[in-house]
């Protein structure tokens, strides 16, 4: 198994009474009123420290993603964060769980930036191509919900073709026309970095991933029991395409909190967990489900995206007990955590586990504690699971020797 440390970078100072004072954490939460950029300076630097710490203690990957106009995740550009991490990390792969391809005009921009990051990091990039949440894509960025998915797919196909092509070519698409496709630089990983498709659970995505041999990462925040239906659907699509159920085809997100006991876990993690579920996921329902975002096929399958579930589930405040019982957060003593994570791996057949060890307004020292314990007590115990499978969805061309940032000294003179 592989273990990845995933940061959402939430704004940790959403005010008390948030749900009563504001109707949504996303889209129209007034930035001038709620966000303090001076505080934000500390927040970004703390969050980068946390990601860099995860690299130091041995996580396989560190994950960043893209969201817009919200207090839930402060990375409108995950590539900027990845660029910063490229210089200060050495071994962890940079798992970039977004660029929401339809939002880049032309989508070649994504091919360029991913290649830049891959070259800068010495071949450590995993390239995620999400559709993006409805809040990000259709409300904040004005994309048309009727054409979003088609535009997204055309963009992904263009990027992949650009990476694979031996020479410049013209592209006459429905959404992008380019006379010359020839993005510089090209990535170290050939023909391109592994492609991961983060999804909220739409039927079309499963077949698309299977057809193109993309990794499918199910980003549910609602625990592995609720995720079962979605992951079963994905594995059935894998079967339909005559492919093996290689667990490394799949990723899953799980919130975790490790402590000496279950009671201690509540003391350490409940405030942060409640902050995340009751403030960061406070969503105005219409923003979650604009017409066209969910396809008729997905509606008929009875699958609801995680964000829709969020808006509907949280009509009232959750309690810590709800969060634990429903498995949204796996928190407790090490035995509890190992037991539950084994269950996640078995139930969902996922080889790539993305863990949230920071959530909500968790203090930095708690984040580092949680991260350290996960690295030393969980990873070694679960590492060997799925060893019988080869991971084809992971960087393999990473340079053996990385350039080292030079020390900050006076020039010696010439």
């Amino acid at each position: 198994m592989k273990f990845h440390w995933f940061h959402l970078m939430p704004y940790p100072y959403l005010p008390d009474g948030f749900r009563e004072r504001y109707h949504s954490v996303w889209v129209d939460l007034p930035v001038r009123e709620v966000y303090d950029p001076v505080v934000g300076h500390e927040v970004y630097n703390d969050y980068l420290d946390e990601l860099e710490f995860a690299d130091q203690v041995g996580f396989d990957g560190i994950c960043v993603n893209e969201h817009h106009s919200n207090g839930y995740g402060l990375m409108p550009s995950p590539n900027l964060i990845a660029a910063s991490l490229a210089r200060r990390t050495r071994s962890a792969k940079l798992v970039i769980m977004g660029n929401s391809v339809a939002l880049y005009n032309p989508p070649i921009r994504v091919a360029e930036e991913m290649a830049m990051l891959d070259v800068m990091s010495g071949g450590r990039v995993v390239s995620g191509f999400p559709v993006g949440t409805p809040m990000d894509t259709v409300f904040c960025y004005g994309e048309n919900p009727a054409t979003l998915r088609e535009k997204y797919r055309e963009g992904v196909e263009l990027i992949l073709r650009a990476w694979k092509s031996d020479k410049p070519f013209p592209f006459n698409g429905k959404y992008t026309q380019l006379r010359y496709v020839n993005p510089w630089p090209r990535p170290i990983q050939q023909p391109h970095p592994p492609v991961w498709i983060p999804g909220g659970g739409s039927v079309e995505t499963w077949d698309w991933c299977a057809e193109h041999d993309f990794l499918y990462a199910y980003l549910s925040f609602f625990g592995y029991q609720m995720a079962r239906k979605t992951m079963d659907g994905f594995w059935e699509a894998v079967d339909r395409h005559g492919l093996e159920r290689n667990p490394y085809r799949a990723g899953f997100v799980q919130f975790v909190g490790i402590a000496d006991s279950d009671a201690e876990a509540e003391r350490l993690y409940s405030e942060a967990g409640l902050y995340f579920f009751n403030r960061c996921l406070h969503l105005f329902p219409p923003y979650v489900n604009p017409p066209g975002y969910t396809t008729p096929a997905t509606m008929r399958k009875g699958l609801r995206s995680q964000v829709k579930a969020a808006a509907e589930t949280f009509a009232s405040d959750l309690t810590w007990k709800d969060i634990i019982e429903r498995g949204y957060i796996i928190a407790g003593g090490i035995d509890t955590v190992l037991d539950r994570l084994t269950d996640v791996a078995d139930t969902l057949n996922v080889g790539h586990l993305m863990v949230m060890l920071q959530y909500g307004n968790m203090p930095k020292e708690t984040v580092l504690y949680n991260t350290q314990r996960f690295a030393t007590e969980v990873i070694p115990r679960l590492r060997g699971r799925f060893d019988e499978w080869e991971d084809h969805w992971w960087p393999k061309d990473t340079l053996p020797e990385l350039a080292t940032p030079a020390p900050l000294t006076e020039p010696a003179g010439v």
Binding site: V138, F139, G142, N144, P145, A146, T147, K174, F284, P285, P286, Y287, P290, P291, G292, T294, P296, M299, R300, G302
Partner: protein, 270 residues
């Protein structure tokens, strides 16, 4: 869709020269009148359509996408939508059409008449969208919570339908009804998202049709002030504003809207 009377709408599929097909509902007798529906589609007990059928042969195309979202694949933008409708009128032999559109249908009617000025002889725009003024913006219709929709659509409390009962569980949801509703809204969104302005203001001068603009004075979706913008932009246009009514003025004030249309069309009939 329950009316079993002799005036019920019948349904046919028309093959277009583009190779696409188009669902058309028809009913009534008299001079032809093209009805362009709003985001709610066409119910065959629609009060205004039913009344129009008393004196007109109503031809009501179902907007592309409402039947099947794939119908929208080859209709990329508002210009191609106007071409699509012109193809339809040509195929139906409607040389100089009388076109009546409500809301999104009004936007299509105005765009059709602006793209093909000779094709539309009379144009009735009922609470049309298609123009934008930041001082009195069209509301973000797609971000209205379902329980609040009646308040946005209707001004007259007598006509507000009760909000649908909340589903107790996922099993209670009528998925096919939901799919139909969402397909319609998606089809409308293609030409209205995120702002229902595709440049119509720059084309209004091309409309040669005699035009009647009808608004409910209390329209909370598209404020009645847009009536003046349509009238100012179209060479031969007049307006009727009906007090106490909202965006669903064809339902809220069926008699008055019908009277205004018939009076407007009277010189044609005579």
């Amino acid at each position: 869709m329950s009316s079993g009377t002799a005036t019920a709408l019948t349904r046919e599929t028309v093959a277009l020269p583009s190779g696409r097909s188009q669902v058309v509902l028809r009913g009534g007798e008299g001079p032809p009148l093209v009805w362009l529906h709003a985001a709610d589609g066409i119910a065959d007990d629609h009060p205004l359509v039913t009344r129009l059928m008393e004196r007109h042969s109503v031809v009501a195309p179902l907007a592309p996408g409402f039947e099947d979202l794939a119908e929208l694949d080859e209709v990329h933008d508002i210009h191609e939508l106007a071409i699509h409708y012109e193809d339809l009128l040509e195929t139906l032999g409607l040389e100089r059409a009388t076109v009546v559109g409500h809301s999104f249908g009004g936007m299509i009617g105005a765009e059709l008449a602006a793209h093909y000025p000779a094709r539309v002889a009379e144009l009735v725009l009922i609470a049309p969208v298609g123009l934008w003024n930041e001082d009195y913006p069209v509301i973000d219709f797609f971000a209205v919570p379902v329980p609040e929709l009646p308040d946005v659509l209707f001004a007259d409390p007598a006509f507000k339908p009760p909000p649908p009962p909340a589903a107790e569980s996922e099993e209670d949801i009528d998925v096919e009804a939901l799919v139909t509703l969402v397909q319609g809204l998606t089809s409308v969104a293609k030409f209205m998202w995120p702002i229902p302005d595709r440049g119509l203001a720059r084309r209004l001068y091309r409309i040669r049709a005699r035009t009647l603009v009808v608004f409910g004075a209390e329209d909370a979706l598209a404020p009645a002030r847009y009536a003046d913008d349509f009238v100012a932009g179209i060479a031969d246009a007049r307006k009727v504003i009906l007090p106490g009514a909202g965006h669903m003025v064809p339902i809220e004030r069926t008699d008055e809207v019908l009277a205004a249309i018939e009076e407007f069309l009277a010189p044609v009939a005579a």
